[in-house]
Amino acid sequence: MKPVSLFIPCIVDQWVPRVGMATADLLRHIGCSPFYRPEQTCCGQVLYNSGHVREARKLARRFIRIFENDAAIVSPSASCVHMVRRHYPVLFEGAPVWRRRAESLADRVFELCEFLVDHMAAADVGARFSGRAAYHESCSHRYGLNISDQPGRLLAAVEGLEIVDMEGADICCGFGGRFSVDYPDISGAMAADKAANFVASGADVLVLCEPGCLLNIGGYVSRNYPEKKVVHMAPFLVENLT
């Protein structure tokens, strides 16, 4: 049983814990032994993206202290992994010791799909779903961490699932954290386009791997197309395990 440390994004912790629970269940299902460090809070992305680097650095140090002895750290979010993998080393540019610690940690933090497919060779988790699904490529997956094939392979392995192409699958849904609050009309128009493409694709369900997109697209779809479903990959797979 491979021990895996869970890195639970704030949105998941506070708003959609079932995504975190499903992540743990999925890891357990493929033979890992997930554990959770309850001291963890926020990786600092919220602060970093708003320009508050000094405060973000404080949380980064904290995060490193908590996780740096874990061999594999897995998160159901690419944007949080992106923060740790790409931005932490930059945060400590002028501090060689911390930078080394950040770089060492960066190599051991994985996004869930990437971990399942690339590191556990578990593209087929043994799920079955009869219906049609479209996949939304989050920006942090596609353009941040270059994770594009792995979610597709997880879906392709689901028995009975028909994957349909969705126009503009890789176009941002308009979440962008604070962007969605500061520029709600632009953000909402982007979510509207995404939802319209989803509906036009004819899929019954839209699968995605990013908690922020889940709130944004899910929130738009819930308001405007209540019969349609938007789900995160982890609960989607777990709830359909055979």
Partner: protein, 489 residues
Amino acid sequence: MKVTTEQYRRVAAREMADEYTKSFLRLLPARLAERRKTAFTDFSDPAAARAAGAAIRAGALENLPQLLATFEKNAKAAGARVFWARDAAAANRYIVDTARENGISGVTKGKSMITEELGLNEALAENGIRAWETDLGEFITQLLACPPFHIVGPALNIPVARISEIFLEKGLISRPEHDPVQLGLAARRFLREKFRHLEMGITGVNLAVADSGTLINVENEGNIRLSKSRPRIQVAVMSLEKVVADMPDAMHLIRLLCRSCTGQQVSAYVSMDTGPRKDDEIDGPEQLHIVILDNGRTRIYEDPVTRQALRCIRCGACLNACPVYGQIGGYPYGWAYSGPMGQVLSPLLLGFARTRDLFSACTLCGKCRDVCPVGIDHPGLMLYYRNRDAVGDPDFRGTGAPRPEKAVYGAYAIIAGHPLLWRVFGAMARRAINCYARGNTIGKGPGVLKGWFALRDLPAPPSRSFRDQWKRRHPAPHAARPASGRKQP
């Protein structure tokens, strides 16, 4: 041109309410992006072609002072006059003086972002010199007195009927004309007359080649070619980062530029001119003036982070890739430069105080970085600006984050620093927002969340967070957690 970067939100709202702009934006950026993608497939290795572009631009910037000195020496040796302009006022003054000394009352212009940055047309007009834009799109926006919608196609969004109207009003046609080809022909006839009597032409520069002193312009209409070869006096205005070492470097950048810009392998015209007309040549200007503009770029160059913003070759690929540009179009950006390249350049040139929306209104999706042929990390730069602005860096005319914002983020950092506080505040926030819940859904919310809820719901958060649920399921955390010890996966 007038800077309206402060009005971003207002103009964006206006544009998003415009049905015509909306339908236009649904088609064009995607089509241009598709053309770009197809055009890149004829590189045996498109990623390597872009990496080479990035290396050429980065290398040129590393050696910028030397390359500029070499360029100046070679351009002068070929007979050109070189003027170094510290700012827009100096550049405009030089160009106006040159026109006056030569008794010139009218000039033609090739499309150039740099003269938009200078506000050159206004400066010429104030001095009684009539400037005619000769690029069709630029000509239309000049007649309509509207800013450019796209850096490559300034009037791409203007409906044919509106063009017919303005051409009729300005006497280019005598009855309404809705055939775009006929409208193009009318503009061509009109502008040919301007070229026929042309004394002075003003163009921008795509690339300046240091080791030969050559100026390169890339275009599809031939108007720049005419502005460069027809008049007695030619003025070429370039920002100081346009210089590259040699012709092979320039050729590779042209390959990238044309593909990224319009999806062409090469544009219809590429003109390369070294100095004014020589004695044995049949055309070309008697005087060639090269204005090299700084306008704040030395400062951009000196900061190792912002230096990469100067790599930009103005291809416009980032505009077509940007999901925000795809909603609002070019006008909200409020100046010559729009889309991600504008969000990166305008704040450096104008200061942060009046451009805050440009680097804030970005989801950091990274699609611009993905298509950039010269390796600019636009999201990384915008994060840097947000930080410099939040701390109030005077070098960028940042004003510092407002006190309430600082307090909120400061409090957030303290709460996130203590798991107990995090747990308590999280529970309080969830309980507060759940007052608005109806069943499993929240459809409205207070204060800053009003905008979100205008268009979207949120799921009602559960009473127990992940950490609480985990604790209930795993009552003895020490048993579920292995001892520290590093293992590689």
